[in-house]
């Protein structure tokens, strides 16, 4: 990396054309002019772009019969029509000076800041005017890199936390699903509860867990899409992996009594179960819809939740789990979606098909905004109302039969009443 381009010099900055109305500066006068035409001199009625505010004003009054009072998108004190601006022409001298001063101050500030950050010798090396790009850039560069890395790591950690936090927050709605599914479990409690203790006591190893895992998975079903955050997290620190493993296990006993079985199951399973899962498939088959892979991601995810509850670092630590399970997760997420789809459709299908789905749209659109109906009678049409007026009154006559009606008969009938 040879010479690094320093920022533009003060002269360059001062020479830049800028827009009187919004103080924005531009590379080129042409761009400034097209900016002004598009932002400040465009007719809101027909989109025509005029060259000056005066031109727009004349256009508005002649074409649209409207009076232009202010320039669009202008700073509050610059919206006047009195100043005729075209590009940089017409800008009052005092305003130009104010602008230049501002640019200069900003420039100096930036310069000072840069020196503070980089530790560079003041632009003096290149002369008082910081015109020339100088050699120094190296040291700051290095610092920057390490800084960057540090910050990146911090940022990632934060993000991971936020994600995990966010996802656990998301789970709350899932909780509703969980309760229902728990209810479902209750409906056939013996089998499942039985299965649950079995695996747990039987072996801390993963294989027996499968049976229990399936209910877990089921609980988790609604959360299917939320598994994605975990997979993204996994990307962050790969080195942590050993930590989380240990962390969950201590957490286990605590969580076990307090939490529903399904959740406590999860840690051990994730710890050991991954490879062994496939063999345990048969037990899971009690619930036909759930694919094998359904269980692991859930567990990983729930672990995260638990860890999150127990402490930040652990929460982060869990992410590596996801790494090992990553493909499983994505696969399971898909599977979960697929499994959920058929389950959901029967429930939701009747709803749309039953009504003609007529005014869903209209109801949705009716917001709270205050409205006043010009004609508010929803029962009687205007014509009926008018027909009731005395001047339109008509009483049928006997002679209205299927016959030729001589013109005379068609005289107004009011008199006969």
């Amino acid at each position: 990396m040879g010479k690094k381009r320093r920022g533009p010099s003060l002269e360059e900055l001062l020479a830049r054309p800028w827009c009187y109305y919004c103080e924005r500066d531009f590379d080129d006068l042409k761009i400034l002019i097209s900016h002004q035409k598009a932002k400040h001199f465009k007719c809101e009625r027909c989109g025509r772009r005029l060259n000056t505010a005066g031109g727009l004003s004349v256009h508005m009054s002649q074409v649209h019969k409207e009076q232009l009072s202010t320039v669009d998108n202008a700073l509050p004190n610059r919206s006047s029509l009195d100043v005729e601006i075209f590009g940089m022409e017409g800008v009052p001298e005092d305003i130009i000076q104010g602008h230049n001063q501002r640019v200069a101050t900003q420039f100096q500030q930036a310069e000072v800041e840069r020196q503070a950050v980089t530790g560079n010798p003041p632009a003096g090396q290149g002369g008082a005017t910081p015109g020339g790009g100088q050699q120094p850039a190296k040291r700051p560069k290095l610092e920057n890199v390490s800084d960057l890395k540090k910050r990146l790591a911090e940022h990632k950690a934060k993000k991971a936390e936020a994600l995990a936090g966010g996802s656990s927050g998301d789970v709350t709605p899932v909780g509703a699903g969980q309760t229902t599914s728990i209810g479902f479990n209750a409906s056939n409690p013996p089998a499942q509860q039985f299965s649950y203790p079995q695996p747990y006591t039987g072996a801390a190893a993963g294989s027996p867990y499968q049976s229990t895992a399936s209910p877990v998975y089921q609980n988790f079903l609604p959360g299917g899409p939320q598994q994605y955050p975990s997979s993204t997290q996994y990307t962050s620190p790969s080195t942590y992996s050993p930590q989380p493993y240990t962390a969950p296990t201590p957490g286990q006993p605590i969580g076990y009594p307090s939490q529903p079985p399904s959740q406590t199951n999860t840690p051990p399973q994730t710890a050991t179960g991954l490879p062994q899962r496939p063999p345990s498939l048969p037990s899971a088959s009690t619930l036909p819809q759930r694919p094998v892979m359904g269980a692991p991601p859930v567990n990983a995810f729930q672990m995260q939740q638990m860890h999150m509850g127990q402490g930040g670092p652990n929460g982060e630590g869990t992410t590596p789990f996801a790494t090992s399970v990553d493909d499983l997760i994505s696969g399971a997420a898909r599977a979960a979606d697929q499994a959920a789809a058929p389950a959901a459709t029967p429930a939701s299908a009747p709803a749309p098909s039953k009504p003609e789905a007529t005014d869903e749209k209209t109801t949705k659109k009716d917001k709270a905004k205050q409205t006043r109906l010009v004609y508010a009678d929803n029962e009687t049409s205007p014509e009926e109302k008018m027909a009731r007026l005395s001047r339109y009154a008509y009483v049928p006559q006997e002679e209205t039969v299927l016959a030729e009606v001589p013109a005379a008969v068609t005289a107004p009938n009011d008199t006969s009443m």
Binding site: V63, E356, A357, T358, D359, K361, T362, T363, K365, D366, K369, Q370, T371, R372, L373, V374, Y375, A376, D377, N378, E379, S381, P382, E383, E384, K385, M386, A387, L389, R391, Y392, Y394, P396, Q397, T400, V401, L402, A403, E404, V405, A407, V409, T410, A411, P412, N413
Partner: protein, 352 residues
């Protein structure tokens, strides 16, 4: 901007209830029905063939306000419906009026189907009368409706009747024609509509208009809204239906909502125009769901709209106080504008 709009000479003296262009492609004949009990027949072409403010050819007085009018098999024949409970046929060349049926209440609408050669009238007595137009017009077949009809429109094969209580019936014209041929005078005939629907709009239906391509229809309500729906009962087609707000003005944070009094489809482009109580006429592309343009506000409520047979003209009838039946109609406030449309003025822009 050159004005491409003219005002018809000698407009009705009271509110306009309906306005129709002759369906013949190059014709510039317009009939207008009014609450002043007259039917007005205008011809926009002068002796030299120039189209301008036109002249009043004929006026046919009725016994009561006339609520609707339509052209028959040719432009020398019209059918009218009015508050005198009668449906009439008027031969414009001989000026003879024939009552073809009498309802038991005011007759709100009348339509003629060229394809099936039938006239259908809808009355506030909650019936449709179906007349087969032949050598001699037979006694009408009477079809009971669940509610009072407010608006009616037909496509080449369907008849859409919008009624009170937001109900809407779609009839198959062929079935109606069959029914009409079996009709015995005075006997009510139950006929199953091809489809029964509930209006997609929550408020009273003000107007319906069928698409010229027979695919569906648009309906409007008193609450500044227009819905576009398709006949095809399949789920995909029904999923395409939509509604949008229009003819509203915001004043002091209150949305003033005007009724959409009139809808008319362009016979060539399949776009449609809506006219509201706010005096605004807007052109819409119902397929692309876009507004094509909106014309400058007219001085009073838009009562009726109609495109000419070739789609080159749009006639706009305005009448004050149409919504609330105000007592006095000021002189000169009932007017008929005819707008000459540019070749692409009413054409949809296509989806974007």
């Amino acid at each position: 901007m050159a004005t491409n709009q003219f005002t018809l000479a000698s407009p009705p003296t009271d509110a306009i209830s309906a306005l129709k262009f002759s369906p013949e492609p190059e014709s510039t004949r317009v009939v207008v029905s009014s609450w002043d009990k007259n039917i007005y027949l205008y011809e926009l072409r002068d002796e030299n063939g120039n189209i301008g403010e036109g002249k009043l050819l004929q006026k046919f007085e009725h016994r009561a306000p006339v609520l609707d009018v339509c052209f028959g098999a040719n432009e020398d024949e019209i059918y009218t419906a009015g508050l005198d409970w009668d449906v009439r046929r008027i031969d414009l060349t001989s000026s003879t009026q024939t009552v073809i049926s009498s309802h038991d209440a005011g007759v709100r609408s009348v339509v003629y189907s060229k394809e099936h050669n039938i006239v259908v009238s809808a009355s506030w007595d909650s019936t449709l009368h179906v007349h087969i137009i032949g050598e001699n017009i037979s006694a009408p077949a009477i079809v009971p409706l669940p509610s009072k009809p407010f608006s009616m429109s037909l496509s080449p094969t369907k008849l859409v009747v919008a009624m009170a209580s937001r109900s809407l019936h779609i009839y198959d014209l062929k079935a109606l024609a069959m029914l009409g041929s079996q009709a015995e005078a005075g006997k009510k005939l139950e006929v199953e509509p091809w489809q029964r629907r509930e209006s997609s709009l929550k408020f009273m239906t003000r107007s319906v208009a069928c698409m010229p391509d027979d695919a569906g229809y648009a309906s409007s309500s008193i609450e500044g809204r227009v819905a576009v729906e398709w006949f095809d009962p399949s789920a995909e087609s029904q999923a395409r239906k939509y509604a949008f707000k229009c003819h509203r003005q915001t004043a002091d944070d209150v949305d003033v909502v005007y009724p959409v009094n009139a809808l008319a489809f362009h016979p060539v482009f399949g776009t449609f125009a809506s006219g509201g109580g706010d005096g605004v006429v807007a052109l819409w592309d119902g397929i692309a769901k876009r507004r094509i343009r909106q014309y400058q506000k007219y001085p009073s409520s838009v009562a009726a709209l109609c495109f000419s047979g070739n789609g080159k003209y749009l006639a706009i009838a305005i009448s004050p106080g149409f919504e609330d039946g105000k007592d006095e109609v000021a002189e000169g406030t009932v007017r008929i504008f005819v707008r000459e449309l540019g070749p692409t003025e009413a054409r949809g822009k296509g989806p974007k």
